[in-house]
Amino acid sequence: MEDKTIDKAELKSAPETPAGPGGERLFVTSSPHFLNKESVPKIMHTVVLALFPAMAASVYFFGLRALLLYVICIGACLATEYAFQKYRKKPIKIYDGSAIITGILLAMTLPPGFPVFGAILGSVFAIGVGKQLFGGLGFNIFNPALLGRAFLMATYPVLTTTWVEPRTVQKAVDAVSAATPLALMKFEGKLTPVLDLFTGNVAGSLGETSAIAILIGGLFLRYKGYVNWKLPLGYLGSMAVFSGIFWLIDPSKYPDPLFHLFAGGAMLGAWFMVTDMVTSPTTDLGQWIFAITGGIMAVVIRLFGGLPEGVMYSILFMNAFVPLLNKHTRPRVFGAVKAKAE
């Protein structure tokens, strides 16, 4: 087969005068020759940094037990990641920080008194099934931490829903179990003061109680540019609007939007799980749909579902739609003609 490229190839084969001054070889690559300074580990490590305020808050409220859970989850996640990469003969990349994030986020969704063996099991499932079975970083469909948490929820339904009061409000006697603000709302119709929710002075999972600490971390990430503002805004916004509608209809029966935003895992989910790059859509429209539908789902589960908290399942549910959203919400190509009439 005659090919025009052959002529060019002949031209190229003519002798070349090599190199620059002093016979030094020049480096030849394809453009662009200029890249920004971002990198995957840098992003991941910044996210870890952004999680510090919430981690500190949980250690303050729940004591060293919280710290232990963080250490266990991070360690187990890293070990699982290492084992999988080693076994699959892939480059060992446990220092890219992604497994650390999974470990921290998983720990944050657990009750402070959660047993160590459960934390290890959840971490192994999160990284093993939630991430490595899909092919590792970038290929997983579901947020690994949430998948680990969902697995634990199904595996240890009692342990994952047994809460303790924070140290700061614990009565002198051993308070064995406590109810989360959302459970109080759902089963007893009691509302927790918003100020307590805001600071985190309530029972709940490690990382989700202190709205202010999460907000600090989230805004720091936003400032660094690693959070797509559409996602937390869409998620929290739709939660507020949707729960606000019910609140306006019957304020005695439904809690106000502020309660919804600050109670349970809404803040943590909105800032650190909805925004997970791998498992959120890549297109503008897709991101809006993802976040807004997720927020509505969370409120629906909270108000009408069997469970007090809906953030985890709402995010996992929407994760499943991400490939579909990416496919069908492609941005308009610049100058695209509306209808291909020909």
């Binding site: 047993p115 063996f117 459960g118 099991l121 697995f151 199904a154 595996t155 240890y156």
Partner: protein, 209 residues
Amino acid sequence: MAENNHTLWYEFKKGLWQDIPPFRLVLGTCPTLAVTNSVINGFAMGMATLFVLLGSNIIISAIRKYVAPQVRIAAYVVIIALLVTVADMFLAAFFPPVSKALGPYVPLIVVNCIILGRAEAYAQKNPVLPSIMDALGIGIGFTLSLMTMGLIREILGFGSIFNIKLLPPSLFEPWIVMILPAGAFLVFGALIALVNYLSSRKAAEADKA
């Protein structure tokens, strides 16, 4: 009818590994996922299926030359339905707790693809004796598969084997998920992966040799 030259032993053993129904053929997955939360349930379901399979293979193989091809499926389904109903009644009469645990899945054997699949693919083309061996092999393979699923799920989900607690509750917190359908899918997936991995390794070794 083409009759092959395989030995009876081959007809039996192929169901135990090579064509083991849920993992290699991915047939009969409904009971595999639904009733395997304990070894006993898996065993009972497997035995019920084995009974129906054996009966249908014998009858169909015996009458294969007399049934008009146009109505064979209808005739087979009637025979299978008969056997399933008998099995269901037998369990309800003699083992009411097992019958209750298996729920609607015993009547559902009627639509288990293994039964009609073996009837179509094997019994209607082969004499009675090989058909018996085929049914025994496939049926026992199926039973073993269900029991394996049941074993894993019972150990993890209840912390017991054959309803005998293995460890005191203080040492082992059962994985509730394993009793739920989600656990069935997890174990099923893991076992398919394992069986595929083992056979691919076997094939690789055979290639080397």
